[in-house]
Symmetry: C2
Subunit: 414 residues, 2 copies
């Protein structure tokens, strides 16, 4: 894409009312727009990153047999009354609205109730199990504080997957499979080495749930990590009994601030029992379906990448999620740059081409703020020798690459 066509512009200063580093940088670089506290729109560059993250999550969810659906934001109150979660005293972050002809209409902060209800016509027999269903859907949460940028929104996108099993053993097996898929997602997005599978509070149906926590000072959580075993305990369940139960050694655990980038939870029959999602087992008996739920917020993941990887010059995107693979800058050498742009585009390499009549200083600074992993500079002198200057965003050194070998410079196309 030609940068002269892109409607967004970068800015030197972040808006004064924005406290979080991720939103400050993303707004300055033109990736998101702040509508109000906790409510952000995605601009073209930001939407590209978000879509790349969604694509990675979708691949991994399909890989474990997930089938994609799209539920609604508006909720039937009856379903939530049945499980006891309609009451504001039970769930304290509801947004509720009203139908014209009367009747309160809540906006989903999560989708356990509607997905359980939706599955009823489709699960009758043990032969219909197991199944897994997921979606990317907007959640609405009436947060009192929303000061973490795109990491904690009042309105945000969530990937939520729900599993439906015949037995606790079936759930346990799928739960472990999903945990592995989550690990692959965080690796692919570029935060794997900083992310720990963390024991957190469970419910009636299992002692623990698990969170995936990324070590980061911008995080709102406190965890205790065992570096060697690569697991952690959330502060909320951190006590001697749990440490012993997990076979850990208190002296080896290190306290860290962290961001919860995913969670997985065994629901058991918590929702299937009250909502009547039952199946006939092989022996003819009627049993509630055993459920699990598994969440990742693509926006929060994007915010975490920003918090973790950006530097004093700006954003730093890992290859797999970057809005473009190459940022091509023409420094008064448009004729040569056009050729390079065509060569890259023909080779299927996503390229943002800075074809604007700006100074080298502005182009370099903006390129570092935007954070595309590979920068290519076409200057008057170098292009006369058929050479392009190539630099990685995180490197201080550039290399000269022959113009006719640029394609070979890239391992993967996207």
């Amino acid at each position: 894409m030609r940068q002269s066509q892109l409607f967004t512009k970068t800015r030197r200063e972040a808006p004064k009312d924005e406290e979080s580093r991720n939103a400050q940088l993303l707004i300055r670089a033109g990736f998101v727009h702040k509508e109000m506290a906790g409510v952000y729109s995605y601009l073209p560059l930001g939407l590209r990153v978000l879509e790349n993250i969604i694509g990675i999550i979708r691949e991994e969810m399909n890989q474990i047999g997930g089938q994609e659906v799209a539920l609604t934001a508006l909720q039937n109150p009856d379903t939530w009354k049945t499980t006891g979660r309609f009451d504001d005293a039970v769930v304290d972050n509801w947004f509720k609205t009203k139908l014209k002809n009367g009747g309160e209409l809540p906006l989903a902060f999560s989708h356990e109730e509607p997905v359980t209800n939706m599955m009823r016509p489709f699960i009758q027999s043990y032969r219909d199990l197991p199944k897994a269903v997921y979606q990317f859907q907007t959640k609405f949460r009436n947060e009192t504080r929303a000061k973490s940028g795109i990491m904690r929104g009042r309105e945000f996108l969530m990937k939520d997957l729900y599993s439906f099993s015949r037995s606790q053993e079936g759930l346990d097996a799928f739960y472990e499979e999903t945990a592995l898929a989550y690990g692959r997602i965080f690796d692919r997005v570029g935060i794997g080495t900083h992310t720990y599978k963390t024991f957190a509070s469970g419910g009636v149906f299992s002692r623990y749930s698990h969170e995936f926590q990324t070590i980061c000072d911008a995080g709102e959580d406190i965890i205790y990590i065992d570096e060697g075993k690569r697991i952690a305990i959330n502060e909320e369940v951190f006590n001697d009994e749990v440490i012993v139960d997990l076979g850990l050694d208190r002296s080896k655990l290190v306290q860290k601030k962290s961001i919860e980038v995913g969670n997985i939870f065994k629901l058991g029959a918590r929702f299937s029992e009250p909502l009547g999602l039952k199946f006939k087992d092989e022996d003819g008996s009627s049993k509630p379906v055993i459920m699990g739920c598994y969440g990742i917020g693509p926006g929060r993941l994007m915010g975490t990448v920003v918090e973790l990887l950006s530097d004093e010059k700006g954003l730093v995107w890992p290859e797999a999620v970057a809005p473009f693979q190459v940022h091509l800058l023409s420094l008064g050498a448009d004729e040569g740059a056009e050729k390079v742009y065509k060569a890259l585009t023909d080779a299927g390499i996503g390229t943002l081409y800075d074809d604007r009549p700006e100074s080298a200083g502005i182009k370099f600074a903006e390129s570092e703020l935007i954070g595309i992993p590979c920068r290519m500079v076409v200057g008057k002198r170098s292009i006369e020798n058929g050479m392009v200057e190539v630099k990685n965003r995180t490197s201080d050194e550039s290399v000269m690459v022959p113009m006719d070998n640029l394609e070979g410079y890239f391992p993967a196309k996207r």
Copy 2:
């Protein structure tokens, strides 16, 4: 995909509370789930159709220079108060909710206000124009009646594009370009021949707006069409003055019921003026940006395809939007069918493979209800001769195709 894995099932009867034919069929075939009146979730087959429609619209919007963004549902009330549209007496279908710490928070029924406001930092000079921005975003409308299935929802997906021009002439040119793109979209989705560009009421900045109306008895609109000129007049502006103005002949106009599948509207400075979206023109003067807005509801489009093309046996999907290209049925010949399934999948042909142990009668009936354009049947006898029976959904006759020539049978892969 193997049908034995698909979590949805078809049903013989539509739910009794569902009045609309599109939702009745889509629910019976397992494409959508009704949460409540005017609120539908998309199941895997339905989501595939919706995504195909979205993909076609996205291609055409990119083609005319649209840049994709994603705005939010929650709205900053101030922006809407500035334009005078916050008041329930002015806009009668708002859904509004409340922030925990007080303050009314409306849910967007449209996005003119936030998009105008969002563009302010990015448009300062005539050099920044023209620009076009679009999104696929959920709209919330507090409809009193919601009886048209997925064609009129209280919550529904909308593609809305907004254009930003330097002058009325710039807007006029882009408006015509978009009208042509809309024509291509309706052609590609399979309803082009039934769809008329229709003159409807305009606003302060132009005498008419235009709707794209698809002739269909399930429609809520009344239009008067000129078959020869392929244009129409909406009932709301149908009078002698308009007929003369458009150079039409009353005796040649035929009254029809129709579905509004798209609309385009010249906004002029209606929103840019109050919200201060101004630019400095070449002569140094400050002028409001001249805007247009252009909407298509992908869900309504899907509902229109159902209303228009389905028959007494069930759904009929045009190739370009079908959830799969081929519905492969094994009639007790799984070994052969597996080979065909592999061959089709390897060739990149999207295939739903009915590998379930059901009777031929059930498989045939369900296949017609689901409406995939090409049905392939592998029977015991035919496969012994290396032949597969191929039938189009809309044809009564089938042909025998050699198993090793199935790929060649398809003009296009998807």
